[in-house]
């Protein structure tokens, strides 16, 4: 256990940041408010990816599949039931992502490293092709548009989302997810995951059933990624195959690396950093922001692999 005073410091910092994020829609112009909400959603996606890449040491290019299926699952719920129901959307989104996660989890136990990475990439593309070509069901290239559900918490509220309430809902979900994931990664389970990352053969030799841990890690990762997809669908009211394309997974990995793997908050910071860079470069260089961002990313992989928050990894995990 860390000394009490640094732990208190952590929680104070955490509370301040959440408070700042909560206040955002009240003080920021709409463009930046939306910017922050999107960072939270992509941050959640990146957090889910961090479970695999940062904690278990498994690089996955499959998160676009989880994300996309969460999105389409939510879309299915919002299109099939009238009035559109928020919780049904979340449920179907999680189910969709969960099904994909089962497949990926199966392969995670049989493949190591590079083969796993390539297979997850292929998974993303399988779903991409299916969604892209199955126009009748998925809307094909154009995707699906739908209405947002109402914010319905029984006994508390039943009203359409406003910009503020949507932002707060997203913030609440992401914060709760973070706290839950943090609890999990700091539990004995999380320790075993990290042990697998450090030295898989030794972890196995000690007696841990590495396969079981990997399966759970993938399921966890997939479900939270799916949740991010649901949030995206609710926020933007559309689903498109572009989000299932493996390049999205690549971007998520960029958030992980730039922000700091194995820190949970790092990826959120990484997402923020990426989007800020994109905004900044877009001023001069509209569509080609990926050139400087790609260069920065590559340089970071080589020279700063621990990412922006890497130096704080120990402290954030104690």
């Amino acid at each position: 256990m860390s000394p009490r005073h640094s732990s208190t410091g952590y929680w104070i910092g955490f509370a301040l940041i959440v408070a700042a994020l909560a206040v955002a829609p009240l003080v920021l112009p709409e463009f930046w408010r939306r910017f922050v909400t999107e960072i939270l959603i992509w941050g959640l996606l990146a957090m889910s990816s961090d479970i695999l890449i940062g904690y278990t040491g498994m690089v996955s290019f499959g998160h676009s599949a989880f994300f996309g299926l969460g999105m389409y699952g939510a879309a299915a719920a919002l299109l099939s039931v009238s009035p559109p129901n928020l919780w049904l959307a979340i449920l179907l989104g999680l189910v969709g992502a969960g099904l994909v996660a089962v497949f990926v989890a199966f392969f995670s136990t049989r493949l190591r490293d590079i083969y796993f990475a390539i297979t997850t990439l292929v998974f993303s593309q399988i779903f991409y092709v299916i969604i892209f070509t199955w126009t009748d069901v998925t809307g094909g290239e154009n995707g699906l548009t739908f209405r947002a559900p109402t914010l319905w918490i029984p006994g508390v509220i039943d009203a359409p989302f406003t910009r503020e309430t949507l932002h707060w809902f997203v913030l609440a979900v992401v914060t709760a997810s973070y706290l839950l994931l943090r609890r999990i990664t700091q539990s004995p389970f999380g320790m075993v995951l990290q042990s697998i990352r450090e030295n898989e053969p030794r972890t196995r030799a000690i007696g841990y059933h590495v396969e079981h841990y990997k399966i759970v890690a993938v399921m966890l990762s997939g479900l939270f990624a799916g949740l991010a997809g649901v949030l995206y669908a609710v926020q933007n009211r559309f689903a498109a195959p572009d989000f299932v394309f493996f390049l999205i997974s690549g971007e998520v990995v960029i958030f992980n690396v730039m922000g700091g793997m194995g820190t949970l908050v790092g990826p959120v910071v990484g997402a923020g950093f990426f989007f800020l860079l994109r905004e900044g470069f877009s001023r001069f260089w509209t569509e080609y922001y990926l050139i400087p961002v790609g260069v920065i990313f590559t340089l970071m992989v080589i020279f700063l692999p621990q990412g922006i928050l890497g130096f704080a990894r120990r402290r954030l995990n104690s």
Partner: protein, 289 residues
């Protein structure tokens, strides 16, 4: 009942695209075999090769000069990439190389988009002319591609089998520490192999160019299939990737009889998944270790 002619035509189509894919995949598997690098940017080197072909063809009017110039230019770029970005990563977790090459891939793709614009370019075949194949007029050029690709791969094989540098490359691939202890300059062998792989990707790009439009994203489909081929063929296994390339391409060609080409790629994916489930070291590797 599917007409026999259709099957035969698809076999030939499969072989043609298979040879191009084999050319790309050989470079990829060679690079992996010797330095454990999964070169995500390989498809983009293919793309750059095609663009260099476009430019040089426009400047000189000669397809073959364009082919040669493109190979040299991309080989040089490959060498630079290896020396600056990949050498520092030697000895680190192999997954960092996949990330680094992914980053490089993004940069190259978007740089190409920026420099050449979104409109696809065209490379003209060096010669037109067709011969009657059943009910079709089949272009000679397609046959030429297959023959040329085979020739280049054959040349690579001969180079590796005979000659001092071939021995250096094979020794380094098998045991880079011992190779170094025998006086072989391993860092330079790595750079050279990366450059060779890049050149082969570029050659594929130029050869394939006339068949499709040259655009900044043309490498994506290629890298995807190349990964599949390299895994199905056995990573680091040159002969295996060639067989796998033809196998996968023919699979897709046949599938295209029933489904759309966009969907046919799922069959390749399935081949990959089945291989990983049952023969993870590669379908064409003699005995799994």
């Amino acid at each position: 009942m599917i007409p026999f002619e259709l099957i035969l035509i698809q076999i030939i189509n499969g072989i043609v695209s298979g040879m191009i894919l084999a050319l790309v995949a050989s470079g990829l598997t060679l690079i992996f075999g010797i330095m454990d690098v999964v070169n995500f940017a390989h498809g983009d080197l293919f793309m750059l090769g095609a663009y260099m072909g476009v430019i040089t063809l426009a400047a000189t009017g000669n397809f073959w000069v364009a082919l040669a110039a493109s190979c040299l230019a991309v080989a040089a770029l490959g060498a630079v990439i290896q020396m600056t970005a990949l050498r520092p990563l030697l000895g680190r977790d192999p997954l960092t190389t996949i990330l680094a090459t992914f980053g490089i891939s993004l940069v190259i793709q978007n740089a190409a988009l920026w420099y050449f614009g979104p409109v696809a370019r065209k490379i003209n075949e060096p010669f037109t002319g067709q011969f009657p194949l059943f009910h079709l007029q089949y272009p000679w050029y397609r046959i030429a591609i297959a023959v040329l690709s085979a020739a280049i791969i054959g040349a690579l094989y001969l180079f590796l089998k005979y000659g001092t540098y071939g021995i250096w490359i094979r020794a380094t691939t098998q045991d880079r520490v011992m190779a170094s202890a025998m006086g072989i300059p391993v860092p330079w062998v790595h750079t050279a192999v990366f450059a060779i792989g890049a050149a082969m990707a570029a050659a594929s790009g130029v050869l394939f160019g006339p068949l499709v439009g040259v655009s900044h994203a043309m490498g994506l489909d290629v890298i995807l299939r190349a990964f599949i081929v390299v895994v199905v063929g056995g990573m680091g296994n040159l002969g295996g990737s060639i067989l796998a390339a033809i196998f996968v391409s023919m699979l897709e060609a046949f599938a295209a009889i029933w489904v759309s080409p966009a969907q046919a790629v799922i069959f390749s994916f399935m081949a990959l998944i089945l291989t990983l489930l049952f023969r993870p070291t590669g379908l064409f590797v003699p005995t799994p270790k």
